[in-house]
Symmetry: C2
Subunit: 326 residues, 2 copies
């Protein structure tokens, strides 16, 4: 895994993956106490940055292997990214989801052209069922973050940030990144190390699910005690990845964390001031910019909104509790 793979991923993505803009608002700057530049990956195909990694992985495959099909374990953004990328490549995709995954996510994944296979969380082993399917159907697994091509694809966000920061004249700043397994965080960090070394990547996680922050601070991989209980489900993972952690250890930190309520508030600010739809897990970096000003340095901060695949009822909740600005 190295910088050159990110440049290669960007070349393969050309014409297929959106260059997302960099936006800002004087209202948000005022709350944050500094200039805040926001990179809205919710505007990416499928509504999250995951389309980048999935595109990178599939476009790097041997065409014969790809044609036989790909598989992913996911009920969320990674599933949609892989389904979309497979459809664009004309490859079959099988997505393995728990039987209790929301109907909306199942429908979206199917509508993107994938076959959804359900498993029972209580009685079936996911890896076992996945392995059996992959063997039977000759499918290649696309991992959500611990894969060099996936990390390289997410790293293309970092290439765009470097170019956009240069255009804005920003040479030194913290770059706050919503962090689950660390694919996006480590990819951006590798890109910036090469193209904008004055920009420092800071992973942002939900409170009580800050395995990356704790791992970085301890110097070794630390797990989350549990996986449920956060509204930021898109970025709750058991622990940092084996490939992503050493990159983050070398280049990123310290980590930041925010509460569910702070994430909901950031969603409301993105609605009011940027006209963007962010999901809770996609809003934690913005929430950190708004609520952790003393833990951030510099006159400007760069923030990634990583996704916008949020349930309408959860979105209304953020508006009702946090958008009363009269």
């Amino acid at each position: 895994m190295n910088y050159d793979m990110i440049e290669a991923a960007a070349e393969r993505a050309n014409g297929h993956i959106r260059h997302t803009p960099m936006v800002n608002s004087p209202f948000i700057d005022k709350i944050a106490g500094r200039k805040v530049y926001i990179k809205p990956e919710c505007l990416q195909h499928t509504g999250s940055f995951k389309a980048r990694g999935a595109w990178s992985a599939l476009s790097a495959m041997d065409p014969a292997v790809r044609k036989s099909g790909v598989m992913a374990y996911s009920s969320g953004n990674h599933a949609q990214g892989v389904a979309w990328s497979a459809a664009q490549h004309g490859a079959p995709a099988v997505i393995l989801m728990p039987a209790d995954a929301p109907q909306l996510k199942r429908n979206n994944t199917k509508a993107l052209g994938a076959r959804v296979v359900l498993y029972d969380r209580a009685t079936e082993d996911r890896e076992e069922k996945g392995l059996a399917l992959a063997t039977d159907l000759n499918l290649t697994l696309v991992k959500p973050y611990d894969d060099p091509h996936v990390i390289a694809g997410q790293g293309t966000v970092g290439l765009e940030i470097a170019a956009q920061a240069a255009e804005l004249g920003i040479e030194e700043a913290d770059v706050l990144v919503c962090c689950g397994g660390g694919g996006l965080t480590s990819g951006i960090a590798l890109a910036l190390e090469q193209k904008a070394p004055g920009l420092r990547v800071r992973p942002v996680e939900p409170e009580h699910f800050d395995d990356v922050a704790r791992s970085l601070s301890a110097g070794s991989i630390s797990r989350n005690n549990r996986m449920d209980g956060s509204i930021c489900d898109a970025i709750v993972t058991p622990q940092p990845g084996d490939l992503t952690f050493p990159i983050m250890q070398r280049l990123c930190g310290p980590g930041l964390s925010v509460s569910d309520d702070e994430a909901l508030n950031a969603m409301a600010q993105a609605f009011l001031r940027l006209k963007l739809v962010a999901e809770p897990g996609g809003a934690v970096a913005l929430a950190a910019a708004l609520n952790r000003k003393n833990e951030i340095s510099g006159d400007a901060v760069i923030v990634v909104i990583s996704g916008g695949n949020v349930d309408p009822m959860m979105f209304s909740r953020s508006l009702i509790s946090h958008a009363d600005v009269a």
Copy 2:
């Protein structure tokens, strides 16, 4: 008013006005029955295209005149555009608003640095009060659409559409534009006439407030019977402008119109599929693409979302009534 003024406006806007992306979604294509490419001006500074026209008008003024101050009559997007542009130019701005304008709009306009002066709709004459203020304070009025520099500024959207359509290989298509007084519609049409003559601009209005469509069809200016009763308040104007109508007559049409409910549905689709916040008046062009497929021609259609300054409760209403996709 001519094409060269649009190129000049684009040059003055360089580095100040955002180039908005062009986005799409397979889900929206499926509903619309053709490819739909969406130009989200809700991502422009101040949340609507109005920042373009206001920037153009102020940047074209004699610096001494500008320094003395500008004025606008508006409680909405034009007010925010003028306030923002004035602040960026270091010029004072006075915005005349009805005393019953929503507190949110007053606060936003003030927060952007403008002085808000209220008048009583029942007892005071707006033009009279405005004229007195302008004379006393030596302010220059910035009209919302019937001004060549404002039209030229809105026309920069058309330059971007022409370039983006060329990149997508689209040579012939309808371009659906949310239409009030016609500044955005006529500006885009003038730009496309020069840069992409195969693209035809179609104004889209709220049902029962389709003064532009009726005027185009009659060949002479026709007024709306009333000004209240639509949720698409941002694009309800008494009649087409004296400058904008002849341009629209030469280049645009036929007009389309959509119901409030269709606008709310389009807002929900923009939320679900594009992760964008559209206001009702800003969503009518998308609503036409989704609901008037037999009145549109071609394999692809281009749609402008003109703004996203929507009250949280109105937005929740669109989600509750139209985002139930389970």
